[in-house]
Symmetry: C2
Subunit: 490 residues, 2 copies
């Protein structure tokens, strides 16, 4: 019997008694129950879905104090951050409730018959959206609420008409169990089947692998490392029937800072950037990991100010001791690959010190080891000789959740080439501010080319996240009884 | 030096001199040229894209007589069908010209800033669509125009702002070369770079494999067998940077025919279905391969009429001798797996005889060998004891481009369960007529769950085909010079 242990993130001490990982029989039962729950949920109307999502938001808020305290103990993310994350999670649930109630993603595209021979003539067609089925959802370590049991994947899948089996993250098992218990109470109060939101737990890879392999699972949704996501995607593809797998993975989020804006307000930007690099101990998928500057005195001043500001940051403890070790190994790997340390005050203990290094663009472009994400408060300054070379740096990065461009306020050939270079590799391009903080809104795109996600046409944050769980179907010559049901799947 | 030979499909005799397959150097040069052409084409306006697509349609029509004669010699599809296919191909090109000119797929979603703290407050966002880059396009054997060099993938990728390197199909190399020559003349007349529409040729897997592995290729689009598509998808996933791969693969297209409608007009439906099974010698991805009937006297009469009607069909020669051999092997495999032949007049020569067999639903559900597509004029009657078992047959099929439901004109619990069962596995559900013939229109969905396609959320036919080649990007706090360019990528 595999066991699973919660730890206090600040001290590494065990928290509570050991838990038992889900058995193969329990995983199968959870998926079977989710498949049974899907039968009814796929045909539910927007009001029913909205009511569930709003009740889930309310249940989270109602247990706020205990949830935040428990999550803080398990993750060391701090109560300010965790209260904000809980707010965001409730906001997401209510936003998808709105969307389900308004029904726009489920609208039918009517395409009436055109008489005559093909290609111009055609039968009556309607393009509709059907929910995929039971979704295997893999929680993240770094967002115990917003990208975990009650998070964006859960909210968007439920709004789409899918049921779920959630793999809780082993980094916060007690928080996951408490949240899942609240969600089960809501299901019971609304007389909805318990299987609509199943949960399984486990420390290693076995539970997740068995879950994504289950024949009744129709899609996977994952937030975590590129390595973990790639392994699960390979499992999804190796099934007798491959299924869509939405992995939101690692990212190094380049920031390109041009000399003009650095001359004008480099000190302010250095302070902002240092805060972004060390925010949440750098444990964000949008944490800026590469800072591209041009050879220029303003860049020198900026890098010096950034070094000073970063050295003054005091990141909190990391989520797990494994991540703490991986951070140190990652920083050392950058140095081994040729980066010169600028801030390198390595320390023992669960809270790491920030790390900053520097390398020239030609070396960066050439060495793949310099493109690896270092999860934690680390960044690499890359010095380019020209805007053209800065674009080549972006091409070498290849895929990222975000690219930030500082200094392209005015139109020019160079500005356009940077915008093209940024949009070519990123899901979100920022022209001010820092990439940490991902707004839950209509236009958001959180997902870019590999290695930042497995399906770059989709987003895991924002309104379009719901579309991941719907599949278009064309109805040809549909009977009246069916077309009269528009907006509500059969 | 690898050679490639065209054959006359009706006789198997060589047609013309041997051709030389593209060398690794030529493939690399074609991709490099496509990447250079993409630099400009990604920023082209709708009028420019529309002008190219319309000129390509006109060029095809202008060379109609010679093209159809050559394609008929290489494929044996017949001049009536090939003239219709050329019309359809020109129609598709002009339809995507319309779409590019109107610009709807490129419209920006504006999401103005909301003041205040997150989660409700957020910066100004805009959701835009950017073309992916050079596309590797793999032509089909069975549509020498509409799913080949000048086909739907080409039209939709060009309209989206992508360049292409097309892998011509070895089943019709001379037609491919002639069409590509015409397209090159159009590019020259419009002063567009030759590399915008590159072409490579080869008989084995090497050329296609090298093409999809090329680091500058941004996406793949394929129409063909499940086996070939799965191999190329595995290559796309195994790249250091995986890319989207849109494979439109094999499908067995179940038709469910209920006793009521068979009693009313079974004879007419049998004749229509026999024509659909043998149309184009069954060489359509939408060819009906499984006919589900319930145990009922009306079903018996229908199956007898279908057998008679199918035995009276005279399919033309198959596209290649390899496909001819595969058809016979596939029919024999169904018998070996337990199907009882009803029409089994196997013959020698390039034109096969139609094949029909029958099996009970329980055996069909249990034996995966009975779910394999037999490409050619073949179908399998599956006898179910109830509507519930017919739904289980659909679940066993698992994924299909189409499902056809005959006899659900009226609302009932059984009708709903069939509609749910059909939409769960298919991209298109028909309530009348036969699945062969795929309208090029706004609501079309040509692509369903595995094994019918690799990306069931996308379509290779219809207006939404263009979306496969665009990727959403969120612009955050974009400067005025950029937002003023709405609808035209930077």
């Amino acid at each position: 019997m595999t066991v699973l242990q919660s730890f206090r993130a600040r001290t590494g001490e065990p928290l509570g008694a050991p838990l038992v990982a889900s058995t193969p029989q329990q995983i199968d039962a959870a998926v079977q129950a989710a498949a049974e729950a899907f039968e009814g949920w796929q045909s539910s109307d927007g009001a029913t879905r909205g009511a569930l999502l709003r009740a889930l938001a309310q249940a989270l808020e109602g247990d706020r104090e205990a949830l935040v305290a428990l999550a803080d103990d398990e993750t060391a993310l701090g109560t300010v951050r965790l209260n904000g994350e809980l707010d965001r999670t409730a906001f997401q649930l209510r936003r998808f409730a709105d969307i389900a109630e308004r029904g726009v993603p489920f609208a039918w595209l009517d395409d009436p018959a055109v008489p005559g021979a093909p290609p111009a003539g055609h039968p009556a067609m309607a393009r509709v959206q059907v929910p995929l089925g039971p979704v295997a959802m893999f929680s993240a370590s770094n967002f115990p609420f917003a990208f975990s049991v009650p998070g964006g994947d859960t909210a968007s899948a439920l709004a789409a008409g899918c049921s779920l089996v959630i793999k809780a993250h082993a980094g916060h098992p007690l928080t996951s169990q408490r949240v899942h218990g609240l969600m089960q109470q809501v299901l019971q109060a609304l007389r909805l089947p318990a299987g609509l939101i199943g949960m399984v737990q486990g420390g290693g890879n076995e539970v997740g692998t068995q879950l994504i392999r289950h024949p009744l699972i129709a899609a996977g949704a994952f937030t975590g490392s590129t390595r973990g996501g790639a392994a699960l995607q390979a499992e999804a593809n190796a099934r007798p029937r491959p299924i869509p797998f939405y992995g939101e993975l690692g990212s190094i989020n380049p920031v390109v800072a041009l000399p003009g804006i650095l001359a004008a307000k480099g000190a302010e930007l250095a302070a902002t950037l240092a805060g972004s690099i060390s925010l949440g101990c750098g444990q964000f998928c949008t944490s800026p990991g590469v800072i591209v500057v041009l050879d220029d005195p303003a860049s020198d001043t900026f890098v010096a100010a950034l070094s000073t500001a970063l050295a003054g940051q005091n990141p909190h403890a990391m989520l797990t001791t494994g991540m703490r070790r991986a951070f140190e190994a990652g920083a050392k790997a950058l140095v081994a690959a040729g980066a010169r340390p600028l801030v390198n005050d390595l320390s023992d203990g669960p809270a790491p010190r920030p790390f900053l290094a520097q390398v020239d663009a030609a070396t960066f472009i050439e060495r793949a080891a310099l493109h690896d994400e270092v999860f934690g408060p680390a960044a690499l300054v890359v010095r380019a000789t020209s805007v053209a070379q800065a674009v080549q740096v972006l091409q070498a990065v290849g895929g990222s959740l975000t690219v930030t461009l500082w200094g392209v306020e005015h139109d020019s050939a160079e500005a356009r080439s940077l915008v093209r270079g940024a949009t070519a590799i990123a899901g979100r391009v920022l022209f001010a501010g820092v990439p940490t903080g991902v707004a839950v809104t209509a236009a958001q795109q959180h997902g870019g080319p590999w290695p930042s996600s497995t399906q770059p046409m989709t987003t895991s944050v924002g309104d379009a996240a719901l579309n991941r769980f719907l599949r278009p179907v064309a109805l040809q010559d549909a009977p009246v009884w069916l077309t009269a049901r528009q907006g509500q799947p059969c």
